[in-house]
Amino acid sequence: PARAEDDQDKDQDKVEGSVTAGPQYRGDDRPGGSAKFEEYRDVPGGFIAERFILTYRPRDGFVIDVDARDLSQKDQSAFLQFGKQDRWKAYFNWSENPRRWTDQAKMLYADRGGAVFTLEDTLQSAVQAAASTSVDADANGQWDPGTRGALIKQAILSGANDVFVGYQRRTGTGGVRFTPTRSWTIDVRADRELRNGTTPQSLGNYFTLSPSEVAAPVDFRTDTATVTAEYAHKRWLFGAQVSASMFDNNFKSLTWDNQLSLTESGSATSAVPARERMALWTDNSVRRATVYGGFDLPGHTRVNATVSRSETTQDDPFLPMTANSLLTPSALPAASFDGKFKNTLAEVRVSSRPASWIRWSGWVRQYELKNDSPELDFADYVATDTSIPFCSNANSCGNTASRLARRNLPYGYEKTNIGGSAGFHWVQWVDLTFGVEREKMKRDFSAVENSHDDTLKLAADFDVSDWLNVRATLRHQERRADSYDAAYFEESFPIGEQNVAASNEGMRKFYWTDRDRDAASLLVELTPHPKFSIYMETTYAYDAYLDPDTGKKIGDSFSSIEDRDFIGGADPPYTIRLAGRTKDLNTTSTLGLSGSPSARFNYYADYTRERFKYGLETRYRTPTSGIGTDNPLDNWGSGAHDQYNTANVGFDYQLTKKGEWKIALDGSRSVGRGDIETHFVPGGNASSDTTLTQFPHLKTVLTLATLSLTHAVSKDLDYTIRYWYETWNEDNWAADQMQPYMGDPTNDPGSVTAVYLGMDFKNYTNNVVSALVRYRF
């Protein structure tokens, strides 16, 4: 037989690779198809170049590799690499993918460029002149002519234009990796990502105005440069990396017309705007330096460590407080926001296997986000380009003539993890691992500034024999706040927050509450016969949330005597309900089988059932008075349920002994359901001004199957006939009624003057047939 080294010569000047291309037919069940089908991809009809692979070795040790997919499509990618084996290589990668948000949007606004969106003056003036309340006097389910609702609806029906909402992401990477010696690796790399197109942007308003929505322009560019140097020795390693990244957004603000008014009107502190403006993403930059390494110690012990420091900054100029020229807010405290994060990571991990039957590891990790951004005091602010809020509670603010001041709170945190584990392998068939960890959390500007989360973990792996493997994990976690500042809501906006007394002291934000978590997982692989295997996985996770002050469960109530109205005298008693998330439950189960009855036939099938439940308990409160109602009969709760059922099945079969003909099938069906039920306490609803309505179900069904028949004509030539069937249906009460007008009296009177895009996806059933020839050279 020839020796391998002799063949090295034959490899030189060798070109090998393959090209796969052919015609593709796409059949949609409706003209234009559905953007959901191509949410992240491009499936064209006609000729497609699915794959091109090339490896060329022009001389000893020199290699050129090319790998391209879906050329000329919106999801194309191409990779080029060349260099001298074991010495250096240059690499380039280009990839694209679309992001389609909807195919049913209609936009009433006209895009004037520069992220400025306008409405017809005639519409604005007509709505401005109309009565502020739309009525349906004849009860025909339509707003009466001439009312605001009728005008908006008519404008949308007659004047809104179809608009594509989506963008294209393009990513390019280039770099050189140099390995001058066996130990050294130096990598210099540059990345650029571009995003261009549009994204759905809702335009925030307060109660007095109605929301709007436009297809906002996206023009992002992110450039990143990274240099890495690493030295590896037999028993130790050291590396360093520096990188810089800059993000640039071509549109810093978005301006839009108020659909309710053509002209500004009002006073210097309360005025209807004709135009409004919001801030979009700011430019930013990140600089990072990282060093890492590891070394061996006696006793088969390894120490790995990483230290990294980065700085993220932005300094975009502030927009004016409002686009409304009638309002007279105070001067801004700064011309721009000199924002700065400093992120620091330090981690040391030690792992050891001193003997064949025991191993252990320990780790310390600290991650900090230090927010060095300034705290700025704003003497006042403008709410939604409409008004300058005043102090509404003299007891809390001192004077109702005072404007409400604001101060930003630069949020930051620090997370420290300390843990260890020990594993034992005394006998052949079982391996046990015990682990403990404490995670300490320290936050700035938080009701819980310090908390800890303790984890106890047990893992057992049973390799009973070649036919049975079992992996089990149990985990128990307890998260506890070191202290809880229930009055944090008053402190968080310290300068004259209105309605502060009506805040819900019982509110415990779920990620600040105490929490008990129990989780378990079990993975079983049963192979009763070498050609047949059954596998199963089940997981369980249960979270229970507790009040850090009292230890009571969220949803429970307790009495408190406190000064909530800032009025002197005896403080009144209150029954406070601990509001917020109460418990979460997540269970998943998978059962599957696979087999290879012969060398020519393989099959598999599996089914996964997933369930999520989220519990919420709280109390209804009206926002209209300074104190608000506080009646236990207004307690209400809610349970959100999400569930998924997914089945997969497939096989591949060689129709002939030599494998010239092959057939393969892959199919799956996934059904997702979501619903929210709500309830008052029995006999409740003391406020009597609302009727709880259950949220309608949300349901999605995705079914797809691919069937392919491949014939190898020769060693270098084969072709595949592929049939791809995919259907998707969604029953979504929210999106389905956004077409785009939904403010009918009998439908949703609350949206009477809203101007939405009406985003939704069409359901689809698609059939794609392709005949692809692959030629190998």
Partner: protein, 291 residues
């Protein structure tokens, strides 16, 4: 899965094969021609880099093979199939304990008895799979143990994994990392910023959970709800915000004062119809994330 069987020897360095000398380069193909030819189609068959003590080609993994080549005695050559998972990995780490694999030892996968050869097959017939993956693709490899992630892929709201634009390793370094959950970056958010750089800037009005961890609101593995939200709106927001300002009833279909009723704020993106800048705002009037 890792092969069953008791470890022969503890090892974080490659276990010694039979003591002895290295055979001449290429001599292995004399008997193992088919294997050698298949190996040449992979990077392992092309590299000239050897082990620290001079082993190259087949013997960089199988150890000194002169005695085996001369006598044909299988016991005189290292066969990774007979090694424990950590010993199997130690063979590979001789060359690969660097770069993205530098933190393999002490990593969660290593601790559960996963070895390099659990996922990778050095010897492959036909066209080598990417990264020499045993199951051909990354997704098939990872979901052979993480079964529920296979189902996650089919959810209505998902990352473009099903479409092939992302892979498990777009976010995770399965070989060990200094990040949580084997993430490639040092925090959940830094991982997300790798593609969503617009969200990483410090802004005037911060929304604390956004800055702390994206996964408090988003499930990157897929969701029933738009934008990968972990729960349906408005419940998602009400897990933290069910106080004043807005009536706390979730939904009502009748109102005497339409513009004050919550309906318009429950449709479409729910709370984010108005609080659209929920990731934070740099507008002086953006403290409610409306601007």
């Amino acid at each position: 899965r890792p092969a069953a069987g008791a470890p022969q020897e503890s090892g974080t360095t490659a276990p010694a094969a039979s003591a002895g000398a290295y055979a001449d380069a290429g001599v292995c193909a004399t008997c193992h021609e088919e294997v050698a030819n298949a190996l040449k189609r992979t990077v392992h068959g092309r590299t000239s880099v050897g082990t620290w003590d001079g082993g190259v080609s087949c013997q960089s993994c199988h150890g000194p093979g002169a005695a085996h080549a001369e006598e044909g005695d299988k016991s005189k050559i290292r066969n990774p199939k007979n090694l424990s998972p950590d010993q199997q990995s130690a063979v590979c780490l001789t060359c690969h304990e660097r770069g993205d694999r530098a933190q393999w030892r002490g990593s969660p996968h290593e601790g559960r008895g996963v070895s390099c050869t659990t996922c990778h097959a050095v010897h492959q017939t036909g066209d080598p799979a990417p990264k020499l993956l045993r199951k051909g693709t990354e997704f098939a490899t990872c979901t052979s143990c993480h079964l529920k992630r296979k189902a996650s892929l089919m959810r209505s709201a998902h990352m473009p994994m099903r479409e092939g634009s992302m892979r498990c390793t777009s976010c995770h370094n399965v070989h060990g990392s200094a990040g949580p959950s084997l993430l490639k970056q040092f925090s959940v958010n830094e991982n997300c910023y790798a593609c969503h750089a617009e969200k990483r800037a410090p802004v005037l009005w911060e929304h604390p959970p956004v800055r702390e961890q994206c996964t408090l609101c988003h499930d990157p593995h897929g969701s029933l709800h738009p934008r990968l939200l972990v729960a349906k709106q408005p419940r998602l927001c009400q897990q933290c915000h069910d106080e004043t300002r807005h009536p706390t009833q979730p939904y009502s279909d009748a109102s005497a004062a339409p513009e004050f009723f919550p309906n318009a704020r429950m449709f479409d993106r729910g709370c984010m119809n108005c609080h659209s800048q929920i990731h934070g705002s740099n507008h002086p009037a953006g403290m409610r994330f409306l601007r």
